[in-house]
C-alpha cells in the first residue's frame, strides 16, 4: 500500500508531504526523483513514466498543471490503483481549488492536507447511495446535461484519413433534492463503441436497453464517457507541403472547410514543431497570426475561417550549413471547435426525472471545453463539438463596454413542445440577478429573430438569457421551458435549459464559492 505522497512543484521543491504508514519515507526520495527527471526527461516531469523504480522504493507519479504527485511504496500493489488514486487526488484538488499550480497549493495547504488525509485513509459518506449525501440541502432543483466531444483524427502523408474517432463525455450538473431517479436515453445508442460510467450508473438497464439510469450525486460530474469509432470525415482539411532543396525548405500550409458541419467552426489553430537543424524560419500567413514559441513550435492561430478566403501559411525554413534536404517531417496538429454539433452524431433523446418531492426539474447545458493534444502521423485534427440543445437557438453576441447586444433566432424547428419562444435577457452579477437590468423580446416563431440590448453601468460579468415558452397542456412533460444563455466577454455561449419549478422562482444555479466558479 502507499506509504507516502509528495506534491512537488515545477522545480522539484516538496510542497506537501503526507505520510501514511509507520514506515516513513524520507524526503530524500524526492531529491532522487528530481535527479531522475533531470536525467531522463530534461527536467520536464510530464515526460516521465508513471512508474519509476528507485533504489529504495517504487514510485508512482502523475503530472498535472506543473504539479507532480509522487507516491511511494515498497511492496506489491496494483500500480493502476496508485496512479488512478493520484489522478483522482489531482482532480479533486482541481475541483476544490479551481485550478492547480504551486501558488494555489501553498495558499490552500491546510485544505490540501485535509483532502489528502481524508482521501488516503478513507472517506465517503456511507449512505445507501455512496456517491450522494443523503440530505442535499438548498438544492435549486435543476439538472443540466452537457455533451462535450473531442475528435481524434489522423491523416497520413497522402491526405488519407487513417483514423477518425470521437471521444465524448456527458457531463451532468445536478442540483436536485431528495433521491432523484434519472433516466437518460439516446435515439441512436448503437453508434457508441466503448463506454465508461460514473459509479452512480446502473449496469442492468444499459446492458439490456442501452438506457442510462442513475441517481446523480450533487454537483457536477462526468456521467459517462464514450467513444465512437470509424467516423468518415473531418470538418476541415489541412494541406501542408514541404519541399526542400539546396538548403532551403519551402513550407505551404492550406486550411479550409472540407465538410461543413452547419455551424461555425472557430478557434482554429495549426501547430507544428519546427524540425531540428533549422537555422532560421520565415513564415507568414495571409490570415491569422503566426508565432514561433520557445520550444521551436510554430503556432498559427486562425480563429474562424473567413468567407471567400482560404487561409494559408507560407514561408521558408533555412536549413543549417551543409544540409540540402530536410529528412524529418513535422507533424501538424490542428485544433478547432464546432459549437452546437456533435460530430459523432450522438443525440440525447430524453431525460426523465422521477422521485423528486416537487415538480421535477431538468435541463440541458452545453459547454465548450478547451482542447487537448492528440496523436498524429502527419497531422492531427481536433474537434470539440457541442451537442445540439434539444431546444436549439442561434445566438450571436456583440458587446461594447457596458452594453450587451444580442441577436437571437429561434431555430427552424424549436425542439420540445412549443412553437414559440420569447427571449429574455437579464444581467447577472456575482451570481445574483440584478433587478432592473433586463429586457424581454417578443415572441418568436421558428426562424424569426430579435435583437436584444441591455445596458449596464458596471463592467459586465455575465448575463443570462432566458427563453420563455408557452405552457403546454398536452405535453407529457407538462411544464414550460426556459433557456438560459450565459454570455460573457470573449467566450462562447453557454446555454442553460431550465424546466422550472412550479414556484417559478427560477434560482440561478449558484455554486458554492470556490468550487468550480463559473470561469472562462
Amino acid at each position: 500500500m502507499l506509504q507516502c505522497i509528495f506534491l512537488l512543484s515545477d522545480s522539484g521543491e516538496v510542497m506537501v508531504e503526507k505520510q501514511m504508514t509507520s514506515h516513513r519515507v524520507d524526503r530524500a526520495i524526492c531529491g532522487w526523483f528530481w535527479e531522475y527527471v533531470l536525467a531522463h526527461a530534461g527536467g520536464d516531469a510530464s515526460k516521465v513514466l508513471q512508474v519509476v523504480v528507485s533504489p529504495t522504493h517504487y514510485l508512482f507519479q502523475v503530472y498535472r498543471n506543473g504539479v507532480t504527485f509522487l507516491a511511494c511504496t515498497q511492496v506489491e500493489m496494483p500500480p493502476l490503483m496508485a496512479i488512478e488514486f493520484l489522478s483522482r487526488v489531482a482532480d479533486v484538488l482541481i475541483d476544490y481549488l479551481g485550478d492547480l499550480n504551486e501558488d494555489i497549493i501553498k495558499d490552500n495547504f491546510v485544505l490540501v492536507y485535509q483532502i489528502l488525509d481524508e482521501m488516503m485513509d478513507n472517506d465517503a459518506t456511507a449512505s445507501y447511495v455512496p456517491w450522494r449525501t443523503t440530505v442535499v440541502k438548498d438544492a435549486s432543483n435543476e439538472v443540466y446535461v452537457n455533451i462535450v466531444e473531442e475528435l481524434d483524427a489522423c491523416v497520413n502523408r497522402e491526405g488519407a484519413l487513417v483514423k477518425c474517432e470521437a471521444y465524448g463525455k456527458i457531463q451532468v450538473n445536478s442540483s436536485l433534492p431528495g433521491v432523484p431517479e434519472l433516466t437518460l436515453s439516446f435515439p441512436n445508442p448503437t453508434i457508441i463503441n466503448d463506454v465508461m460510467f460514473h459509479p452512480c450508473v446502473r449496469f442492468r438497464p444499459w446492458e439490456s436497453n442501452q438506457i442510462i439510469s442513475f441517481v446523480p450525486p450533487d454537483g457536477q460530474f462526468d456521467l459517462m464517457s464514450y467513444r465512437v469509432k470509424k467516423l468518415k470525415t473531418t470538418p476541415i482539411y489541412v494541406k501542408p507541403q514541404l519541399t526542400s532543396d539546396s538548403g532551403n525548405c519551402r513550407v505551404n500550409v492550406m486550411v479550409g472547410i472540407r465538410n461543413d458541419p452547419g455551424k461555425p467552426i472557430d478557434s482554429i489553430t495549426v501547430q507544428f514543431r519546427l524540425p531540428l537543424l533549422i537555422a532560421s524560419a520565415d513564415l507568414t500567413a495571409n490570415y491569422g497570426t503566426v508565432d514561433i514559441l520557445a520550444d521551436q513550435t510554430c503556432l498559427w492561430t486562425i480563429g474562424q475561417i473567413p468567407k471567400g478566403k482560404a487561409p494559408s501559411l507560407s514561408g521558408n525554413l533555412h536549413l543549417e550549413e551543409g544540409l540540402t534536404h530536410l529528412h524529418t517531417f513535422p507533424t501538424f496538429q490542428v485544433k478547432f471547435r464546432v459549437m452546437g454539433v456533435a460530430l459523432s452524431g450522438l443525440q440525447v433523446d430524453k431525460l426523465e426525472v422521477r422521485n423528486t418531492p416537487s415538480a421535477p426539474y431538468k435541463g440541458f447545458r452545453a459547454q465548450t471545453k478547451a482542447g487537448r493534444k492528440r496523436c498524429t502521423s502527419k497531422f492531427i485534427k481536433e474537434h470539440h463539438g457541442v451537442e445540439d440543445l434539444p431546444v436549439a437557438c442561434d445566438a450571436r453576441r456583440y458587446d461594447e463596454p457596458g452594453v450587451v447586444m444580442a441577436r437571437f433566432r429561434a431555430q427552424a424547428t424549436p425542439p420540445g413542445h412549443g412553437q414559440r419562444v420569447r427571449p429574455c435577457l437579464r444581467l447577472w452579477q456575482r451570481g445574483r440577478a440584478s433587478g432592473r437590468a433586463r429586457t424581454r423580446g417578443r415572441w418568436l416563431r421558428p426562424c424569426q429573430g430579435v435583437w436584444l440590448r441591455l445596458r449596464t453601468l458596471s463592467p459586465l460579468r455575465m448575463c443570462r438569457l432566458r427563453f420563455l415558452r408557452p405552457r403546454l397542456r398536452a405535453s407529457p412533460l407538462h411544464f414550460s421551458t426556459r433557456i438560459h444563455y450565459f454570455l460573457c466577454p470573449q467566450s462562447s455561449i453557454q446555454c442553460h435549459l431550465l424546466l422550472p419549478h412550479h414556484t417559478a422562482a427560477c434560482a440561478c444555479p449558484t455554486r458554492k464559492s470556490g468550487r468550480n466558479p463559473p470561469r472562462r
Binding site: 502507499l2 510542497m15 508531504e17 501514511m20 509507520s22 515526460k47 513514466l49 512508474v51 523504480v53 511504496t73 506489491e76 500500480p79 493502476l80 490503483m81 496512479i83 488512478e84 488514486f85 493520484l86 489522478s87 479533486v92 475541483d95 501553498k106 490552500n108 491546510v110 485544505l111 485535509q114 483532502i115 488525509d117 488516503m120 485513509d121 478513507n122 472517506d123 465517503a124 459518506t125 456511507a126 445507501y128 455512496p130 449525501t133 481524434d152 487513417v162 471521444y167 463503441n193 465508461m196 460510467f197 459509479p199 449496469f203 444499459w206 464517457s225 467513444r227 531540428l276 544540409l323 529528412h327 524529418t328 492528440r374 496523436c375 498524429t376 502521423s377 458554492k512 464559492s513 470556490g514
Partner: protein, 1099 residues
C-alpha cells in the same frame, strides 16, 4: 488503504475559507505558536495549528510542541480537533509518552453522539501506533464494528489494517472482526473490509466462502479502490476452491496460436516472443507442477468448465459490468479475472474497455500497455482487429511508443499489415531517431512473421538504407547512424530466414558499400557478404570483385570493419569453388599481409589466427612448404568450418525464460517480483474444506439469506465453515425457542402440531433437536398455566427474593435470582510450577495465588509457595530473591505508581532444612510490575541459584469487594461507556457434568447446575466476590438464555472497583455462548482482567 470522494460532504466544511493561508505557508514562524496554542479562542488555536502544519509540510520538526498540541485534542471545535489529529498522527510515534495523554479523550470521543467524532477518534487512535494502546484499540474496534453508523464501521475496517501492522499477534481477534464486517449491509463497509482482509489475513480464503455470494452481489456498489482488491480476493478464492477453468483462454490460446502459426510456419517464428500457455500458467500459479502434466494441455485435476460451475459463473457475471468502470485499475482487475477464468468466446469483451482506457485515462496508458503486451503475446488474435488503437501519439513518451510498436508487431496479421506499414512509413520520418530505429526493427519482426510482405519490407528497408546513407554523409550527429545500422540489422534478420531467395537484396546491399561510410553499417554488410558469399547464383559471381574491393579499401577502414573483412575473406575461402580458389588465396594473402602490419594488435592477432587456421593461405604467406603439417590439415579445416560456418545459437531463445507476472500487478510493470507479490493459489487447494462445506450450502442456503446480520455475526470465525451447519441448526432452534417464549401456551402447542412452517423447522434441525422438541412439547403440556409460573407469588415460593431492578425490565424475560454465598462454592486454587525438580536437584516449587490480602502494602499480591523435596538428599537454606530491582520497570504501567517504595518480594520465612519427601509452605508477597509480564526470581537452595519465573495472574490483583446487588448496579451505571468492555466466549464445562447426572430425574436443576459450575470456576480462579446469580425463568427447561452472574472486586493497587458481569445465551445441552463484561475505571487493567476471565471460562 484509501477511500475516495473527498468531494463528498465530509470535506466541504473547509471550503468556505479558501486561499487565505498563503502567509502561513510562507512565514509560519512570524507569531508565537505556543502562545497561540494556549489561547482560549479556537481561532487562535486554528492559526497555530495551521502554522504547525505549514512547518511540517516544509519538513521542519515541530515535535517539541507535542504536549501543547495534545491538550487541544479535547477541544469542542471539530476544526481544531481535525487539525490536532493530523498533527498527532504525524508525531505520535516519536512522542509516545505524551501521546498517551490523549488516549482518554479518544475513549470519550468513541462514545460521542456524532458519528464523525467517533470515526475520527478511532482512526486517530489506530493511526498513532502505540503498542501500549493497541489492546484498547482492539476493544474499540470490536465495539465500533457494531456501531450504528456505517461511516464508523467503515473506519473500523480501515483501523484493522493499521492494527494488524501494530499487533500481528492478535490476528485471530482481527479476523473475527473482519468476519463480522464482511456481513455488513453497507457496501462501503464491505469494501473497506476487503482492504482489511487483504492486510489482516490474505490467505484466509475459507473465510470468504460463506460470504462469497454476497460479496459478488455487492461488488458493483463498493468503492473502486476496494473493488480492485475485492476482485483479486474472490478470484483467488475461486481458484483455490474450484481450480482453473478448462475452456479458459490460457488453456485454449495454445491451440489458436498453433492454428495460426501452422498456416505460415516460418523458421524464425519464435523470434516474436510469443508466450505459450504453459509458460503463462507456470508464471501465474504457485506449485504449478503439482497440478499439471508436463504437457500442460491437459489438467489432471480440473475438468471444470466455466459454465458448469456456479461460482465461476457468478464471478464472471459480477465482474463483467466493472469493465465499464471509470477507474482503469478496476477495468484491468476485471479483465484479469476474465483473462484467467473466462471461456475464450467471452474474452472478447475485455478488449474494448481495455483499449478505451488508453484514451480516457492517459496516466494509465503505460501500465495498461505493459499488460496488453503480455495479453497480445499470448493471444495475438484478441487485439488483431484493433491495431488502430496502438498507433503512436506524438506526445507519447518514448517507452510508451516502444511498447505500442511491440504490440503492433505482435498483433499484425495479413489483413492489417498494409495499414500498419503505412503508419510505419510515417514513423520513419519522426524526428526521434531512437524511435525510428525501433520502427525499423519492428518492420523486420513483422516481415519474419508474415512472409507475404517480406519482399515489400526488404524493398523499403533497402531504400531506407540508401536514403539514410546519403544523409549520414552530410550530417554527423550522435546516434544518427542508429537508424542505418538498425535497417541493415533488420535486413540481415529477414535475409537469414531464407537467404537464397533474397540474394538480390544482398547484392544490392553489397554494392552500396561504396556509398555507406558508417563503420558499423559497413562491417554489418561485410558480415552479410561473407556469410552468404556462396549462396545462390548471382552472389558467387560478384564475390571476386567484392573481395578485391575490400582488400583495396582495407587500410582505410576502421578496426571493426578490418576484423569483419578478415572474417569475410576467411569464409569466402572456405566456401569458394575450385575455379576461384587461387585468386581468392592471393587476395587473402594480401589482406593478411596488410593486417599483419596493422597498428592495432587485435587486427594483427586476427590475421595470425586466420592464417594459421586456413592452411592454404599459410602456404602463400610463409612461402615455404608445410607438408609436415599435412596431417593437421583436416583438423584445421574442420576447425575453420566450425568457427566460421557453424550455426549461431538463436539469440531469441533467451526470451523464453522471461518472467511474466499476474496482470495488473506492480511486478508485471517493473518486471521483477516486487516484495509481497504472490502468485495465484494452487488450484483446488481448498478442497478439503470445500467438501465439508458442500452439505451446508445445500441445506442452509435459503435460511442463510433470511437470517439477519446479527445472526451470522454471532457465529465466530473460529467455528468457521465446519461449524456452519451447527450454527445453522442452532439459530433456527433459537428462533423456535424465541417464538415459544412469547407465544402463549395454546398457540404454542398449536404451532407445533399443526402449522406446516414449524414442521419445516423441525425437519431442518438434526435428530437430537427433534428429540428435545418432543421433550419441550411434553413439558409445555404439563405446565398448564404459564402466567402463574411467572407471577410473583409463584416465584417467591421458589426463590429467595424478587427481582425489582430497572435493568431487568428491558430484558423482557422473567428472571429469578438464586442467592448463593461465596462459601457454598469450593475454591480449588490452581497450582502452577515455579521450579521444576528436574532443573533444581530435586526441589519442586509450586505456587498458587491466595485470596489473602497483604498486610505490608496494597501493591503486594500474596502467593502461596509449596516446597517439596523429591530428591533423596536433604536440601538446606532455601530462600528466594528477586532478580529485579524494585521499580526498575519503566512507567508503562500507570496503575502501579509509587512502586519504588515497595519491595519487590516479601517472604514470611526461610526454610532451613527440607528432608526428602518433606513439604513446606511459605507465603510470598510479590510486587508485579506489570499485569502480564512475569517476575524473575532466583531460588537459592544448597547455595545454588535456580532462576525461576513467577507468572502473574491478574485475577488475583483484585480483592473481593463486598456489595449487594443494588450497589453493584448503581456502580455499574457509573462505569458505562469507555469503562466498559465486553467479549464473547463459550462455556462447555457443564456438559461434562451432565454426563454424570441422569437428566430424567431432576431436569429443573440444569440451569442451577450450569450457574454453579461457572461460578465455582470463576471463584476458584479469581479473587472476586459473587454478588448474584440470575436465573432465567422460561418454561423451556433447556434454555439458559438470560443466566447472569455478577462478581465484584476491587483492584489491589488503586482500590478502584472492578465489576464483572457474565450473561449466558443458548441451551444448556450445548456449549453456552457467554458475554463477559468488565466495568472498571482503570481501562488497561479492566481489559486485561476481561481477557483473563474469558480465559478462565474457556479453559
Amino acid at each position: 488503504m484509501f477511500g475516495l470522494q473527498a468531494s463528498g460532504a465530509a470535506a466541504s466544511w473547509v471550503v468556505g475559507r479558501m486561499g487565505t493561508d498563503a502567509h502561513l505557508y510562507d512565514d509560519p514562524d512570524d507569531a508565537s505558536i505556543p502562545t497561540l496554542l494556549d489561547s482560549r479562542f479556537d481561532a487562535d488555536k486554528l492559526d497555530a495549528l495551521k502554522r504547525l502544519l505549514a512547518l511540517i509540510a516544509q519538513g521542519v520538526d515541530v515535535a517539541h510542541l507535542f504536549p501543547q498540541v495534545v491538550k487541544n485534542v479535547a477541544s469542542q471545535s471539530l476544526e481544531v480537533k481535525k487539525l490536532v489529529y493530523l498533527y498527532l498522527l504525524h508525531y505520535a510515534e516519536k512522542r509516545q509518552n505524551e501521546a498517551l495523554l490523549s488516549i482518554n479523550i479518544f475513549q470519550k470521543d468513541l462514545s460521542d453522539i456524532n458519528p464523525l467524532v467517533r470515526a475520527w477518534a478511532l482512526r486517530t487512535m489506530a493511526g498513532i501506533r502505540l503498542h501500549v494502546v493497541a489492546p484498547l484499540v482492539l476493544v474499540a474496534v470490536k465495539k465500533c464494528a457494531r456501531d450504528p453508523s456505517a461511516y464508523v464501521r467503515k473506519c473500523t475496517a480501515y483501523a484493522l489494517c493499521k492494527l494488524q501492522d501494530l499487533i500481528p499477534e492478535e490476528t485471530a481477534a482481527l479476523e473475527e472482526t473482519v468476519d463480522v464486517l464482511f456481513s455488513d449491509n453497507s457496501p462501503g463497509v464491505v469494501g473497506a473490509t476487503a482492504v482489511a482482509f487483504n492486510s489482516v489475513c490474505p490467505n484466509c480464503l475459507p473465510l470468504i466462502s460463506k460470504h462469497f455470494q454476497r460479496l459478488c452481489e455487492t461488488l458493483p456498489d463498493i468503492e473502486d479502490w476496494a473493488q480492485i482488491i475485492l476482485i483479486d480476493i474472490i478470484l483467488r478464492y475461486v481458484i483455490a476452491r474450484h481450480g482453473l477453468v478448462k475452456d479458459s483462454s490460457i488453456f485454449a490460446s495454445s491451440l489458436s496460436l498453433e492454428s495460426q502459426g501452422s498456416g505460415n510456419s516460418v523458421p524464425g517464428n519464435g523470434t516474436c516472443g510469443t508466450i505459450s500457455n504453459i509458460t503463462l500458467l507456470h508464471n501465474y500459479i504457485e506449485e504449478y507442477s503439482g497440478c499439471f502434466d508436463r504437457e500442460g494441455d491437459k489438467i489432471s485435476s480440473s475438468s471444470m468448465t466455466s459454465s458448469t460451475n456456479n461460482d465461476v459463473v457468478l464471478l464472471l457475471k459480477c465482474t463483467s459490468p466493472l469493465l465499464w468502470s471509470r477507474n482503469s485499475g478496476v477495468i484491468l482487475a476485471a479483465a484479469s479475472v476474465h483473462w484467467i477464468m473466462a471461456p475464450v468466446e467471452q474474452l472478447k469483451r475485455i478488449v474494448g474497455p481495455i483499449l478505451f482506457t488508453l484514451r480516457s485515462s492517459p496516466d494509465a496508458t503505460y501500465v495498461m500497455l505493459g499488460n496488453i503486451l503480455v495479453f497480445s503475446k499470448t493471444d495475438p488474435s484478441l487485439f488483431a482487429l484493433f491495431y488502430e488503437d496502438f498507433f503512436i501519439c506524438d506526445s507519447d513518451p518514448y517507452q510508451t511508443k516502444a511498447l505500442k510498436l511491440e504490440i503492433l508487431t505482435n498483433i499484425a496479421t495479413e489483413s492489417s499489415i498494409p495499414a500498419i506499414f503505412e503508419e510505419f512509413q510515417d514513423y520513419i520520418k519522426d524526428p526521434d531517431r531512437r524511435f525510428v530505429a525501433d520502427t525499423v526493427a519492428a518492420i523486420a519482426l513483422c516481415a519474419q512473421k508474415l512472409p507475404s510482405i517480406t519482399t515489400t519490407c526488404l524493398e523499403g528497408l533497402l531504400s531506407l538504407v540508401f536514403y539514410e546513407s546519403s544523409i549520414c554523409k552530410s550530417v554527423h550527429i550522435d546516434g544518427e547512424d542508429a537508424v542505418l545500422v538498425q535497417a541493415i540489422l533488420s535486413i540481415k534478420a529477414i535475409v537469414k530466414t531464407d537467404p537464397a531467395s533474397h540474394e538480390k537484396v544482398i547484392v544490392r546491399l553489397v554494392r552500396s558499400l561504396e556509398k555507406i561510410k558508417e563503420p558499423a553499417a559497413r562491417s554489418l554488410i561485410i558480415w552479410i557478404f561473407g556469410e552468404y558469399s556462396s549462396i545462390g547464383n548471382i552472389i558467387p559471381k560478384i564475390t571476386p570483385a567484392v573481395l578485391k574491393y575490400l582488400a583495396w579499401s582495407f587500410t582505410a577502414e576502421v578496426l571493426e570493419t578490418k576484423l569483419q573483412i578478415l572474417n569475410a575473406a576467411a569464409k569466402v575461402i572456405i566456401h569458394s569453388p575450385e575455379e576461384h580458389l587461387n585468386e581468392f588465396k592471393k587476395i587473402m594473402a594480401y589482406v593478411i599481409m596488410l593486417a599483419a602490419c596493422d597498428l592495432n594488435y587485435d587486427v594483427r592477432d586476427r590475421a595470425r589466427f586466420v592464417s594459421r587456421i586456413l592452411p592454404h593461405c599459410r602456404i602463400d604467406l610463409k612461402g615455404k612448404d608445410s607438408s609436415c603439417q599435412s596431417h593437421n590439415e583436416d583438423m584445421f579445416k574442420e576447425l575453420a568450418n566450425h568457427i566460421f560456418v557453424g550455426k549461431m545459437p538463436s539469440a531469441y531463445q533467451v526470451s523464453n525464460n522471461y518472467r511474466i507476472y499476474l496482470p495488473g500487478s506492480l511486478s508485471q510493470v517493473v518486471l521483477h517480483a516486487a516484495p509481497g507479490y504472490t502468485q495465484l493459489p494452487k488450484p483446488q487447494s481448498m478442497e478439503l474444506i470445500h467438501r465439508t462445506m458442500e452439505t451446508t450450502i445445500g441445506v442452509g442456503n435459503s435460511s442463510e439469506s433470511i437470517n439477519s446480520d446479527a445472526e451470522s455475526g454471532s457465529s465466530t470465525y473460529d467455528s468457521g465453515s465446519v461449524y456452519d451447519s451447527e450454527s445453522e441448526g442452532g439459530s433456527s432452534d433459537r428462533d423456535a425457542a424465541g417464538s415459544n417464549k412469547y407465544s402463549n401456551d395454546a398457540g404454542h402447542s398449536f404451532d407445533h402440531q399443526n402449522d406446516s412452517l414449524v414442521h419445516v423447522y423441525d425437519t431442518s434441525v438434526d435428530q437430537g433437536q427433534t428429540a428435545r422438541d418432543v421433550e419441550e412439547n411434553f413439558s409445555s403440556l404439563i405446565s398448564t398455566d404459564l402466567t402463574e409460573l411467572i407471577s410473583k407469588s409463584a416465584l417467591e415460593t421458589w426463590l429467595d427474593e424478587v427481582p425489582a431492578e430497572p435493568v431487568q425490565a428491558s430484558m423482557q424475560t422473567s428472571v429469578a435470582r438464586v442467592s448463593l454465598t461465596n462459601h457454598s462454592f469450593d475454591r480449588k486454587p490452581k497450582l502452577h510450577t515455579l521450579l521444576d525438580p528436574s532443573n533444581s536437584n530435586g526441589l519442586s516449587v509450586l505456587y498458587a495465588f491466595s485470596s489473602e490480602v497483604s498486610s505490608v502494602s496494597h501493591l503486594l499480591v500474596c502467593v502461596d509457595l509449596l516446597f517439596e523435596n523429591v530428591s533423596t538428599d536433604q536440601l538446606a537454606d532455601i530462600t528466594i530473591k528477586s532478580e529485579e530491582a524494585a521499580g526498575s520497570e519503566d512507567g508503562l504501567d500507570q496503575t502501579l505508581e509509587g512502586s519504588a517504595r515497595v519491595p519487590t518480594i516479601v517472604l514470611d520465612k526461610e526454610i532451613q532444612l527440607l528432608a526428602p519427601q518433606q513439604t513446606a509452605k511459605m507465603v510470598l508477597q510479590a510486587h508485579f510490575h506489570h499485569h502480564l509480564l512475569p517476575l524473575k526470581l532466583t531460588v537459592f537452595c544448597n547455595g545454588k541459584k535456580h532462576p525461576a519465573k513467577l507468572h502473574p495472574d491478574i485475577a488475583y490483583f483484585v480483592q473481593p469487594l463486598l456489595m449487594d446487588l443494588n450497589a453493584f448496579l448503581c456502580k455499574e451505571n457509573q462505569l458505562r461507556g469507555v469503562f466498559e468492555y465486553a467479549r464473547r466466549c463459550t462455556f462447555k464445562d457443564h456438559l461434562q457434568k451432565f454426563e454424570h447426572i441422569n437428566d430424567s430425574t431432576e431436569h429443573t436443576d440444569r440451569n442451577v447446575l450450569v450457574a454453579q459450575s461457572l461460578a465455582s470456576k470463576i471463584l476458584s480462579n479469581a479473587n472476586v466476590h459473587l454478588v448474584s446469580m440470575d436465573m432465567p425463568v422460561t418454561f423451556n427447561i433447556d434454555d439458559a438464555s438470560g443466566l447472569c452472574w455478577r462478581f465484584s472486586s476491587e483492584i489491589l493497587s488503586t482500590s478502584n472497583p472492578c465489576l464483572i458481569t457474565i450473561v449466558a445465551e443458548g441451551h444448556t445441552s450445548e456449549p453456552l455462548d457467554l458475554t463477559a463484561k468488565v466495568n472498571s475505571q482503570d481501562t488497561v487493567f479492566g481489559l486485561n482482567l476481561l481477557n483473563r476471565v474469558v480465559a478462565i471460562i474457556e479453559f
